[in-house]
């Protein structure tokens, strides 16, 4: 596969002083010296220790639950079951915060009442003086199950007569696309290629297991100090516990990894209930095994592509079917399915498109958000399908894609016009060029292959959620800056980006900015750290707020210098006349002047994404997302055809991020996201049999170690066409999306045959080679 160089469209981005520089992140040093206090590192005086009693059955009625012995154990402060919870308050986890409608009766209960639907479902809570006593108490809880027939395969669950997880049937969600005439499009094809791809349950495997501490304060506010991607859960928590919204205070911590796994409510309600009941601080920290059992998984998908193409490479029509396993409770399944549906055919112009997707309930572990959110699964299928079509046409995979790529101004699968830059060709070429020539090996049994994938992944939430964010920027009288913004930081530098933006606008260094974030009571609510939205939403809100402060400063300085405000600038902690920089005032002095005049030096800004209406699920046509990031990843692998082992030799990610606020952070996202993608492709799978997880710890659930990955080269392109601050797009999820299909394409290139299921284990490689020999 060769990639000829080509000049990128010329982009002249305005020069910046802080934004765009590879500065040390504001949170980095505290973490590096071990000073940062994570959710599990915090203690309160008089604190109790909590444990959760969980179902060992995947599908059963609870015939009898007896907690009396547990309650009687000395040192146990309380035991709670569904019986003790506020009446009829069954809560689901929908971080929409805008009151999404959801299938009634399918909400996940806080504690199981009478029926359990998955192994690990919470049934009772214990709080005790020590962790040891709490663990002992769990052993004393007596439970009798009456097993019910369960279903563990979405295909089985869709059949009539299958056990029903939630009435009336197991179809949790469905979306359809009917664009043009797919039947006619396929009929007009010279060649039709059909493939079915499968991807498994995946665990987030953040190194920090879920944890938190809660206490009731002197205003009877339930405080919850917890690692969460969503502080707005305070509303759902309040509802579940039976208190007013303003009596729950979520203090989000620096998160030790989220990736979507800490997007739904995890320990919060348990903590709130126990602290309210005991009137003492309570700590709950999951073990790793409990974390794997208790939190959501990435949706498994079965995706079938049937695509028609002309001999000249132009796609004439496509039919796509998608089935996802929603597990025991819906959580965010409808939206994961939506993302998958909207990007189901990839970043390609397909005028005749029929997509049918469905999310199906089973007694498997529940599935919800995971970096990519359906877009990653869709990409595993569409990018492999593209390579298969190229192969069938005996065309170069990139040349084939070029004939079909979306361009700026084109409309995507559901008719949304893409307004930002679409640099797929350039990204693919740069990524492949960086891969270089295939490594030559002397051993016959080792086959080297190269592959790439080009993908689209949205940034910004579904627009009919009417997303908003708020940020509060202020300048102190000594010229230092404070940013307060509710955005949780899950480790990707969400908080730092806001600080770098504020520093840019106010002419200070990053080290002059202090931030406060992720607090539902004290920082302006900025929405979820999900959907690659924080830079777009909170970055824009922060930019807006900082500009408001800047205006006050410049207007006052203009008075002082007797010049127009637009002839002045802020930099190096000063305000100065652009044409005569020798005339300047320190920011500290300027701030004092403003304060003396009673001017407003702290501004709260609201940023609003475009608000749209919900689309028709029977035929998705319209706009769902604010914009997309277009990405490429290229991989070189060596496959040992005797053992099936795969070694990743080279890895290159090339992404147009619009504008890199902090290039080192963007590189880190590309390297880390692709590492997760490589793990997805090669070794990760939560193996579930009859509802029971057979990979309970990190010994069985394998994520890449430092020896499993090569140095990943990150190529950052900046088109400046994003809708984020300074023309930025988003990188969090896009960093992962192309990596797994790139690996799959590289392996297929190496061994000459396609493996349709992830992960590409050594055993599957040998099976594929055998199959190829026979066929």
């Amino acid at each position: 596969m060769t990639a000829k160089g080509r000049a990128l469209p010329q982009v002249d981005l305005p020069p910046l002083r802080q934004v765009g520089r590879p500065l040390r992140r504001v949170d980095a040093l505290g973490k590096a010296v071990g000073a940062t206090v994570y959710a599990g590192d915090f203690t309160m005086p008089n604190m109790l220790h909590a444990k959760v009693f969980r179902s060992s059955e995947p599908s059963a009625c609870i015939k009898q639950l007896d907690v009396t012995k547990a309650q009687a154990l000395p040192g146990v402060a309380c035991v709670l079951t569904a019986d003790e919870l506020p009446d009829g308050k069954l809560i689901t986890d929908m971080p929409g915060q805008t009151g999404q409608e959801r299938r009634k009766g399918s909400d996940a209960p806080v504690l199981a009442a009478g029926r359990v639907r998955f192994v690990g479902e919470p049934i009772a809570l214990v709080a005790a003086e020590t962790l040891a006593i709490a663990e002992q108490a769990l052993e004393l809880i007596k439970i009798e199950y009456e097993p019910l027939a369960g279903v563990f395969d979405p295909l089985e669950a869709m059949k009539p007569g299958a056990p029903v997880i939630h009435e009336p049937d197991n179809i949790v969600s469905s979306w359809k696309i009917r664009k043009g005439n797919a039947e006619a499009g396929l009929a007009a094809a010279d060649l039709i290629v059909e493939n079915t791809f499968r991807v498994p349950f995946i665990d987030h495997a953040y190194i920090e297991p879920e944890a938190g501490v809660a206490w009731v304060d002197d205003q009877q506010v339930i405080n919850i100090r917890v690692c969460t991607q969503v502080v707005e859960h305070f509303r759902s928590i309040a509802q579940a516990v039976g208190v007013p919204h303003n009596k729950v205070h979520v203090r989000g911590t620096m998160i030790g990894g989220g990736f979507g796994g800490k997007e739904d409510i995890t320990v919060e309600i348990f903590l709130a209930l126990l602290t309210k009941e005991t009137n003492r601080p309570v700590r709950l920290a999951y073990t790793r095994e409990e974390s794997i059992l208790a939190h959501s998984k990435r949706h498994p998908f079965i995706i079938t592509h049937r695509t028609g193409v002309k001999k000249n490479g132009r796609i004439t029509g496509a039919e796509i079917k998608m089935i996802s396993d929603s597990g025991a409770y819906p959580y965010l399944s409808p939206y994961v399915l939506l993302y998958a549906t909207v990007t189901s055919c990839g970043p390609y112009r397909i005028e005749n498109l029929k997509v049918d997707s469905v999310s199906v309930a089973t007694n498997n572990p529940f599935t919800s958000a995971f970096r990519g959110f359906g877009g990653a699964q869709a990409a595993v299928a569409y990018e492999q399908q593209m390579d298969e079509m190229a192969k069938a046409l005996t065309m170069d995979p990139l040349e084939f894609r070029k004939i079909n790529y979306l361009k700026t101004g084109d409309s995507n699968a559901i008719g949304q016009q893409i307004k930002s830059a679409v640099w797929l060709e350039e990204e693919a070429m740069q990524a492949l060029a960086a891969l270089g020539e295939k490594k030559s090996v002397s051993e016959d049994a080792i086959k080297v292959g190269q592959g790439f994938a080009t993908t689209m992944q949205s940034y910004g939430r579904i627009m009919w959620f009417h997303d908003t964010s708020r940020s509060w920027v202020g300048i102190e009288q000594d010229g230092t800056v404070v940013v307060r913004c509710g955005a949780p930081d899950l480790g990707a530098g969400q908080a730092n980006s806001l600080c770098q933006i504020a520093a840019e606008v106010l002419g200070v260094s990053l080290t002059d900015v202090t931030f406060y974030n992720s607090d539902s009571a004290v920082t302006p609510l900025a929405g979820t750290t999900t959907a690659t939205r924080q830079l777009y939403m909170s970055g824009n809100a922060t930019l807006k707020a900082a500009k408001m402060v800047r205006k006050v400063l410049l207007d006052r300085a203009a008075e002082h210098f007797k010049k127009e405000p637009n002839s002045l600038d802020l930099a190096d902690n000063k305000v100065f006349i652009k044409s005569d920089p020798q005339q300047w005032l320190s920011l500290a002095d300027l701030s004092k002047m403003c304060a003396a005049d009673g001017l407003k030096l702290q501004h709260l800004a609201l940023f609003r994404a475009p608000f749209t209406d919900k689309l028709n699920p029977e035929n998705l046509q319209g706009n769902v997302f604010p914009d997309f990031t277009f990405s490429a990843h290229a991989i070189e692998v060596a496959v040992d055809t005797k053992t099936g082992e795969i070694t990743v030799l080279k890895s290159v990610g090339c992404h147009d991020v619009g504008r890199a606020i902090n290039p080192i952070a963007v590189e880190g996202q590309i390297q880390g996201g692709s590492a997760q993608g490589i793990g997805y492709a090669l070794m990760e799978e939560v193996q579930v049999k009859d509802g029971v997880t057979r990979t309970p710890s990190l010994s069985e659930y394998l994520i890449p170690t430092a020896k499993d990955l090569p140095t990943t080269k990150a190529i950052i392109l900046e088109s400046g066409t994003g809708v984020g601050p300074f023309g930025a797009k988003g990188i969090g999820e896009p960093a992962l999306t192309p990596a797994a299909p790139a690996v799959a394409n590289a392996v297929a290139n190496a061994i000459g045959v396609r493996i349709h299921d992830l992960p590409l284990t050594p055993e599957r490689v040998l099976a594929a080679l055998d199959h190829a020999k026979k066929g």
């Binding site: 040093l29 071990g34 790793r288 880390g672």
Partner: protein
């Protein structure tokens, strides 16, 4: 089960604690507020709990506190402070090697052990040295850059002494 008084020398401080035998060194350290030592798995799979014990980097979740009686223990927080960070801590912060930071303390202890034995490691040797420390955020590339940066700085510092 009877508790026993033991001595843990941690980051230059002497602690006398009375503990039951089934308490791990990880639990004992965190109860002494050395919360930079993290619990990621409690079974030696992730390396987040790595500390140096009598000169060797180990998983503190797999050592009983009684087995560490009298030992010299160094945790990441003992290597440096925000005012005066260790070259590894500084390099990690500058190279982007710290994203969520949860693996960082254990990772730095493993990197220190590597550099103690091999002051100028190759990329392969670094990957080997941190192969027992899982990171889910960075993909390890910037961590390797950080270790290489720190190695250079530490060699410089040594030659200046």
């Amino acid at each position: 089960m009877k508790a026993k008084a033991i001595t843990l020398n941690v980051n230059g401080r002497r602690h006398q604690v009375t503990l039951f035998p089934n308490v791990t060194l990880l639990e004992a350290l965190r109860d002494l507020n050395y919360t930079d030592v993290k619990n990621g798995c409690e079974k030696g799979d992730c390396g987040a709990c790595a500390v140096e014990m009598n000169g060797k980097v180990i998983n503190s979740c797999l050592v009983l506190a009684w087995q560490a009686d009298g030992a010299q223990i160094i945790t990441n927080a003992g290597l440096g402070t925000m005012e005066n960070p260790h070259p590894l801590q500084e390099a990690f912060a500058d190279a982007g090697a710290v994203q969520c930071g949860y693996c960082t303390s254990g990772m730095i202890m493993a990197a220190k052990a590597l550099l103690d034995e091999n002051p100028n490691p190759s990329e392969t040797e670094i990957r080997e040295g941190i192969s027992g420390n899982l990171c889910r955020c960075t993909g390890y590339t910037q961590i390797i850059n950080a270790v290489q940066m720190a190695a250079k700085k530490m060699t410089q510092q040594r030659s200046q002494q």
